[in-house]
Symmetry: C2
DNA sequence: CTCATTACGTTAACACGTTAATTACATTAT
DNA sequence: ATAATGTAATTAACGTGTTAACGTAATGAG
Protein backbone atom coordinates (compact mmCIF):
# COMPACT_ATOMS: atom_id res chain seq x y z
CA UNK A 1 0.00 0.00 0.00
CA UNK A 2 1.20 3.49 -0.82
CA UNK A 3 2.07 6.06 1.79
CA UNK A 4 -0.26 8.92 1.00
CA UNK A 5 0.35 10.98 4.13
CA UNK A 6 2.14 13.51 1.91
CA UNK A 7 -1.26 14.78 0.82
CA UNK A 8 -2.33 15.82 4.30
CA UNK A 9 -0.76 19.26 4.03
CA UNK A 10 -2.06 20.05 0.54
CA UNK A 11 -5.37 21.51 -0.56
CA UNK A 12 -7.54 19.62 -3.06
CA UNK A 13 -6.31 20.76 -6.44
CA UNK A 14 -9.77 21.47 -7.83
CA UNK A 15 -10.14 24.28 -5.29
CA UNK A 16 -6.87 26.02 -6.03
CA UNK A 17 -6.18 29.18 -7.95
CA UNK A 18 -4.22 27.73 -10.88
CA UNK A 19 -7.02 25.36 -11.84
CA UNK A 20 -9.73 27.97 -11.39
CA UNK A 21 -7.81 30.48 -13.49
CA UNK A 22 -7.44 27.91 -16.24
CA UNK A 23 -11.15 27.08 -16.10
CA UNK A 24 -12.15 30.73 -16.20
CA UNK A 25 -9.99 31.26 -19.26
CA UNK A 26 -11.52 28.23 -20.93
CA UNK A 27 -15.03 29.49 -20.15
CA UNK A 28 -14.29 32.92 -21.59
CA UNK A 29 -12.81 31.30 -24.70
CA UNK A 30 -15.91 29.14 -25.12
CA UNK A 31 -17.76 32.37 -25.86
CA UNK A 32 -15.13 33.84 -28.14
CA UNK A 33 -13.87 30.80 -30.04
CA UNK A 34 -16.61 30.68 -32.68
CA UNK A 35 -16.00 34.30 -33.68
CA UNK A 36 -12.21 33.95 -33.54
CA UNK A 37 -12.35 30.84 -35.70
CA UNK A 38 -14.60 32.61 -38.19
CA UNK A 39 -12.17 35.52 -38.38
CA UNK A 40 -9.16 33.22 -38.60
CA UNK A 41 -7.33 34.59 -35.57
CA UNK A 42 -5.98 32.91 -32.50
CA UNK A 43 -6.85 34.44 -29.16
CA UNK A 44 -3.28 35.71 -28.80
CA UNK A 45 -3.18 37.29 -32.25
CA UNK A 46 -6.42 39.02 -31.39
CA UNK A 47 -4.98 40.38 -28.15
CA UNK A 48 -1.92 41.76 -29.93
CA UNK A 49 -4.07 43.31 -32.63
CA UNK A 50 -6.37 44.95 -30.10
CA UNK A 51 -3.52 46.45 -28.09
CA UNK A 52 -1.61 47.66 -31.14
CA UNK A 53 -4.76 49.38 -32.39
CA UNK A 54 -5.15 51.23 -29.09
CA UNK A 55 -1.86 53.06 -29.63
CA UNK A 56 -0.75 55.36 -32.42
CA UNK A 57 2.42 53.32 -32.24
CA UNK A 58 3.89 50.96 -29.65
CA UNK A 59 7.24 49.27 -29.04
CA UNK A 60 7.68 45.55 -28.53
CA UNK A 61 8.47 45.69 -24.81
CA UNK A 62 5.39 47.74 -23.99
CA UNK A 63 3.29 45.54 -26.25
CA UNK A 64 4.58 42.51 -24.41
CA UNK A 65 3.69 44.09 -21.07
CA UNK A 66 0.19 45.19 -22.11
CA UNK A 67 -0.76 41.90 -23.75
CA UNK A 68 0.66 39.93 -20.82
CA UNK A 69 2.69 37.82 -23.25
CA UNK A 70 6.40 37.09 -23.36
CA UNK A 71 8.43 38.88 -25.98
CA UNK A 72 9.28 35.80 -28.07
CA UNK A 73 5.57 35.15 -28.51
CA UNK A 74 4.95 38.76 -29.48
CA UNK A 75 7.80 38.62 -31.98
CA UNK A 76 6.37 35.54 -33.67
CA UNK A 77 2.83 36.87 -33.74
CA UNK A 78 3.92 40.19 -35.21
CA UNK A 79 5.65 38.34 -38.04
CA UNK A 80 2.36 36.66 -38.91
CA UNK A 81 0.33 39.83 -38.58
CA UNK A 82 2.80 41.79 -40.69
CA UNK A 83 2.70 39.16 -43.45
CA UNK A 84 -1.08 39.51 -43.47
CA UNK A 85 -0.89 43.28 -43.79
CA UNK A 86 -2.41 43.97 -40.37
CA UNK A 87 0.54 45.82 -38.84
CA UNK A 88 3.58 47.79 -40.02
CA UNK A 89 6.93 48.17 -38.32
CA UNK A 90 9.59 50.88 -38.31
CA UNK A 91 12.89 51.36 -36.49
CA UNK A 92 13.30 54.22 -34.06
CA UNK A 93 15.49 57.03 -35.46
CA UNK A 94 17.18 57.92 -32.17
CA UNK A 95 17.57 54.44 -30.70
CA UNK A 96 17.95 51.86 -33.42
CA UNK A 97 17.44 48.99 -31.00
CA UNK A 98 13.80 49.94 -30.60
CA UNK A 99 11.15 49.23 -33.20
CA UNK A 100 7.64 50.65 -33.46
CA UNK A 101 4.49 48.82 -34.48
CA UNK A 102 1.40 50.45 -36.01
CA UNK A 103 -1.97 49.01 -36.99
CA UNK A 104 -2.99 49.35 -40.63
CA UNK A 105 -6.40 50.43 -41.87
CA UNK A 106 -7.10 46.75 -42.51
CA UNK A 107 -6.91 46.15 -38.78
CA UNK A 108 -9.35 48.96 -38.00
CA UNK A 109 -11.75 47.52 -40.56
CA UNK A 110 -11.53 44.10 -38.93
CA UNK A 111 -12.11 45.59 -35.49
CA UNK A 112 -15.09 47.61 -36.73
CA UNK A 113 -16.64 44.46 -38.15
CA UNK A 114 -16.31 42.83 -34.77
CA UNK A 115 -17.79 45.44 -32.42
CA UNK A 116 -21.32 44.18 -32.74
CA UNK A 117 -20.42 40.55 -32.05
CA UNK A 118 -18.23 41.64 -29.18
CA UNK A 119 -21.16 43.38 -27.52
CA UNK A 120 -23.38 40.35 -28.07
CA UNK A 121 -20.81 38.10 -26.46
CA UNK A 122 -20.49 40.25 -23.36
CA UNK A 123 -24.27 40.60 -23.17
CA UNK A 124 -24.52 36.81 -23.28
CA UNK A 125 -22.07 36.48 -20.43
CA UNK A 126 -23.80 39.20 -18.43
CA UNK A 127 -27.04 37.24 -18.49
CA UNK A 128 -25.43 34.54 -16.36
CA UNK A 129 -22.74 36.54 -14.55
CA UNK A 130 -23.93 40.06 -13.83
CA UNK A 131 -21.90 43.22 -14.21
CA UNK A 132 -21.51 43.70 -10.48
CA UNK A 133 -19.84 40.32 -10.06
CA UNK A 134 -17.73 40.93 -13.13
CA UNK A 135 -16.55 44.25 -11.71
CA UNK A 136 -15.66 42.54 -8.41
CA UNK A 137 -13.80 39.82 -10.25
CA UNK A 138 -11.81 42.29 -12.33
CA UNK A 139 -10.91 44.30 -9.24
CA UNK A 140 -9.76 41.25 -7.32
CA UNK A 141 -7.71 40.01 -10.26
CA UNK A 142 -6.04 43.41 -10.57
CA UNK A 143 -5.27 43.48 -6.86
CA UNK A 144 -3.89 39.98 -6.97
CA UNK A 145 -1.74 40.74 -9.97
CA UNK A 146 -0.16 43.59 -8.03
CA UNK A 147 1.41 41.24 -5.48
CA UNK A 148 3.84 39.81 -8.02
CA UNK A 149 7.34 39.09 -6.69
CA UNK A 150 10.61 40.20 -8.31
CA UNK A 151 11.42 38.78 -11.78
CA UNK B 1 -4.63 59.54 -41.15
CA UNK B 2 -6.11 56.23 -40.04
CA UNK B 3 -9.77 55.79 -39.29
CA UNK B 4 -9.78 54.70 -35.67
CA UNK B 5 -13.52 54.99 -35.06
CA UNK B 6 -13.62 51.20 -34.86
CA UNK B 7 -12.23 51.45 -31.34
CA UNK B 8 -15.16 53.46 -29.99
CA UNK B 9 -17.20 50.37 -29.16
CA UNK B 10 -14.39 48.38 -27.53
CA UNK B 11 -13.10 48.48 -23.97
CA UNK B 12 -9.43 49.22 -23.29
CA UNK B 13 -7.73 45.86 -23.44
CA UNK B 14 -5.81 46.32 -20.20
CA UNK B 15 -9.12 46.30 -18.32
CA UNK B 16 -10.51 43.14 -19.83
CA UNK B 17 -10.82 39.67 -18.39
CA UNK B 18 -8.43 37.79 -20.71
CA UNK B 19 -5.53 40.10 -19.88
CA UNK B 20 -6.26 40.11 -16.16
CA UNK B 21 -6.50 36.32 -16.08
CA UNK B 22 -3.14 36.07 -17.83
CA UNK B 23 -1.57 38.52 -15.38
CA UNK B 24 -2.99 36.70 -12.37
CA UNK B 25 -1.56 33.44 -13.67
CA UNK B 26 1.81 35.07 -14.20
CA UNK B 27 1.77 36.52 -10.69
CA UNK B 28 0.96 33.16 -9.16
CA UNK B 29 3.70 31.54 -11.18
CA UNK B 30 6.20 34.18 -10.03
CA UNK B 31 5.82 32.65 -6.57
CA UNK B 32 6.01 29.05 -7.69
CA UNK B 33 8.58 29.16 -10.46
CA UNK B 34 11.69 29.01 -8.26
CA UNK B 35 10.47 25.85 -6.52
CA UNK B 36 9.22 24.25 -9.74
CA UNK B 37 12.55 24.93 -11.44
CA UNK B 38 14.42 23.48 -8.49
CA UNK B 39 12.28 20.34 -8.63
CA UNK B 40 12.56 20.12 -12.41
CA UNK B 41 8.84 20.20 -13.14
CA UNK B 42 6.76 22.42 -15.36
CA UNK B 43 3.63 23.92 -13.88
CA UNK B 44 1.50 21.59 -15.95
CA UNK B 45 3.42 18.46 -14.95
CA UNK B 46 2.96 19.52 -11.35
CA UNK B 47 -0.77 19.93 -11.79
CA UNK B 48 -1.10 16.48 -13.30
CA UNK B 49 1.02 14.95 -10.56
CA UNK B 50 -1.02 16.61 -7.83
CA UNK B 51 -4.35 15.48 -9.25
CA UNK B 52 -3.18 11.93 -9.93
CA UNK B 53 -1.96 11.69 -6.34
CA UNK B 54 -5.37 12.73 -5.03
CA UNK B 55 -6.98 9.62 -6.50
CA UNK B 56 -6.30 5.96 -5.90
CA UNK B 57 -6.50 5.74 -9.67
CA UNK B 58 -7.89 8.03 -12.35
CA UNK B 59 -8.68 7.76 -16.06
CA UNK B 60 -7.37 10.18 -18.66
CA UNK B 61 -10.67 11.91 -19.36
CA UNK B 62 -11.30 12.69 -15.72
CA UNK B 63 -7.71 13.74 -15.29
CA UNK B 64 -8.10 16.08 -18.22
CA UNK B 65 -11.23 17.57 -16.68
CA UNK B 66 -9.75 18.02 -13.20
CA UNK B 67 -6.49 19.54 -14.37
CA UNK B 68 -8.32 21.81 -16.83
CA UNK B 69 -6.02 20.66 -19.61
CA UNK B 70 -6.83 19.15 -22.99
CA UNK B 71 -6.35 15.44 -23.39
CA UNK B 72 -3.48 15.65 -25.89
CA UNK B 73 -1.50 17.64 -23.33
CA UNK B 74 -2.30 15.15 -20.60
CA UNK B 75 -1.22 12.28 -22.85
CA UNK B 76 2.15 13.90 -23.53
CA UNK B 77 2.75 14.82 -19.90
CA UNK B 78 1.90 11.31 -18.69
CA UNK B 79 4.49 9.86 -21.08
CA UNK B 80 7.13 12.04 -19.47
CA UNK B 81 5.99 11.31 -15.93
CA UNK B 82 5.85 7.58 -16.64
CA UNK B 83 9.39 7.58 -18.05
CA UNK B 84 10.52 9.26 -14.85
CA UNK B 85 8.84 6.64 -12.67
CA UNK B 86 6.30 9.04 -11.19
CA UNK B 87 3.15 7.34 -12.46
CA UNK B 88 2.07 3.89 -13.63
CA UNK B 89 -0.63 3.00 -16.13
CA UNK B 90 -2.89 0.00 -16.59
CA UNK B 91 -5.70 -0.84 -19.00
CA UNK B 92 -9.20 -1.37 -17.70
CA UNK B 93 -10.22 -5.05 -17.67
CA UNK B 94 -13.84 -4.47 -18.67
CA UNK B 95 -13.36 -1.63 -21.14
CA UNK B 96 -10.00 -1.84 -22.82
CA UNK B 97 -10.33 1.67 -24.27
CA UNK B 98 -9.94 3.15 -20.82
CA UNK B 99 -6.64 3.33 -19.02
CA UNK B 100 -5.97 4.04 -15.37
CA UNK B 101 -3.18 6.14 -13.93
CA UNK B 102 -1.71 5.75 -10.45
CA UNK B 103 0.93 7.74 -8.60
CA UNK B 104 4.00 5.84 -7.46
CA UNK B 105 5.64 6.14 -4.06
CA UNK B 106 8.22 8.38 -5.70
CA UNK B 107 5.47 10.91 -6.35
CA UNK B 108 4.32 10.86 -2.74
CA UNK B 109 7.89 11.39 -1.62
CA UNK B 110 8.21 14.40 -3.91
CA UNK B 111 4.92 15.83 -2.68
CA UNK B 112 5.94 15.33 0.95
CA UNK B 113 9.17 17.20 0.33
CA UNK B 114 7.18 20.09 -1.04
CA UNK B 115 4.51 20.63 1.62
CA UNK B 116 6.63 22.99 3.66
CA UNK B 117 7.57 25.20 0.73
CA UNK B 118 3.98 25.16 -0.45
CA UNK B 119 2.80 26.55 2.86
CA UNK B 120 5.51 29.20 2.81
CA UNK B 121 4.46 30.28 -0.66
CA UNK B 122 0.82 30.65 0.30
CA UNK B 123 1.79 32.45 3.48
CA UNK B 124 3.84 34.86 1.39
CA UNK B 125 0.89 35.55 -0.87
CA UNK B 126 -1.46 35.92 2.09
CA UNK B 127 0.68 38.73 3.47
CA UNK B 128 -0.22 40.88 0.49
CA UNK B 129 -3.57 39.39 -0.50
CA UNK B 130 -5.51 38.24 2.55
CA UNK B 131 -7.49 35.05 2.86
CA UNK B 132 -10.81 36.81 2.69
CA UNK B 133 -10.03 38.32 -0.68
CA UNK B 134 -8.61 35.03 -1.89
CA UNK B 135 -11.81 33.25 -0.87
CA UNK B 136 -13.87 35.86 -2.73
CA UNK B 137 -11.69 35.50 -5.78
CA UNK B 138 -11.96 31.72 -5.80
CA UNK B 139 -15.74 31.89 -5.41
CA UNK B 140 -16.14 34.37 -8.24
CA UNK B 141 -13.88 32.33 -10.52
CA UNK B 142 -15.90 29.21 -9.77
CA UNK B 143 -19.15 31.02 -10.48
CA UNK B 144 -17.79 32.44 -13.69
CA UNK B 145 -16.53 29.06 -14.84
CA UNK B 146 -20.03 27.67 -14.45
CA UNK B 147 -21.42 29.90 -17.20
CA UNK B 148 -19.54 28.03 -19.93
CA UNK B 149 -21.43 27.56 -23.16
CA UNK B 150 -21.79 24.27 -25.03
CA UNK B 151 -18.62 22.54 -26.33
C1' DC C 1 38.33 56.66 -25.74
C1' DT C 2 37.56 51.98 -24.39
C1' DC C 3 35.84 48.30 -22.07
C1' DA C 4 32.36 46.40 -19.37
C1' DT C 5 27.57 46.65 -18.63
C1' DT C 6 22.92 47.18 -19.70
C1' DA C 7 18.85 47.21 -22.74
C1' DC C 8 15.83 45.89 -27.07
C1' DG C 9 14.62 42.51 -29.80
C1' DT C 10 15.23 37.98 -32.18
C1' DT C 11 16.39 33.13 -32.53
C1' DA C 12 16.59 28.42 -30.81
C1' DA C 13 14.93 24.46 -28.42
C1' DC C 14 11.70 22.07 -26.05
C1' DA C 15 7.08 21.80 -23.57
C1' DC C 16 2.22 22.86 -23.86
C1' DG C 17 -2.35 24.67 -26.30
C1' DT C 18 -5.44 23.62 -29.83
C1' DT C 19 -7.84 21.36 -33.51
C1' DA C 20 -8.57 17.61 -36.51
C1' DA C 21 -7.74 13.07 -37.78
C1' DT C 22 -6.91 8.41 -36.38
C1' DT C 23 -6.94 3.96 -33.84
C1' DA C 24 -9.22 0.85 -31.19
C1' DC C 25 -12.89 -0.61 -28.75
C1' DA C 26 -18.16 -0.41 -27.05
C1' DT C 27 -22.75 0.25 -27.84
C1' DT C 28 -26.94 0.57 -30.29
C1' DA C 29 -30.21 -0.40 -33.74
C1' DT C 30 -31.70 -2.87 -37.24
C1' DA D 1 -25.01 -11.01 -36.18
C1' DT D 2 -23.69 -6.86 -38.40
C1' DA D 3 -23.56 -2.23 -39.67
C1' DA D 4 -23.76 2.30 -37.88
C1' DT D 5 -22.80 5.20 -34.28
C1' DG D 6 -20.46 6.72 -30.23
C1' DT D 7 -16.46 6.89 -26.95
C1' DA D 8 -11.38 6.72 -24.82
C1' DA D 9 -7.17 7.80 -25.95
C1' DT D 10 -3.39 8.86 -29.08
C1' DT D 11 -1.10 11.07 -32.99
C1' DA D 12 -0.18 14.90 -36.10
C1' DA D 13 0.46 19.62 -37.27
C1' DC D 14 0.91 24.15 -36.20
C1' DG D 15 0.80 28.11 -32.88
C1' DT D 16 2.12 29.72 -28.29
C1' DG D 17 4.70 29.40 -23.46
C1' DT D 18 9.12 29.45 -21.55
C1' DT D 19 14.00 29.81 -20.88
C1' DA D 20 18.51 30.64 -22.44
C1' DA D 21 21.53 32.37 -25.69
C1' DC D 22 22.54 35.59 -29.24
C1' DG D 23 23.19 40.00 -32.00
C1' DT D 24 23.17 44.66 -31.87
C1' DA D 25 23.06 49.11 -30.06
C1' DA D 26 23.16 52.45 -26.13
C1' DT D 27 25.24 53.76 -21.69
C1' DG D 28 28.53 54.37 -17.90
C1' DA D 29 32.91 53.87 -15.42
C1' DG D 30 37.68 53.97 -15.67
Amino acid sequence: MDDRTALDGLKPMNKTLPILLARARETLLSYWRPKLTEMGFTEQQWRVLRVVAEHKRIDISTLSEETAMHMPSVTRILQTLEQNGLVERTRDEEDSRRSWVRATQKTFDVLASCVETSNEIYAGIEKKFDNKKMAQLLTLLREFSDVRTGS
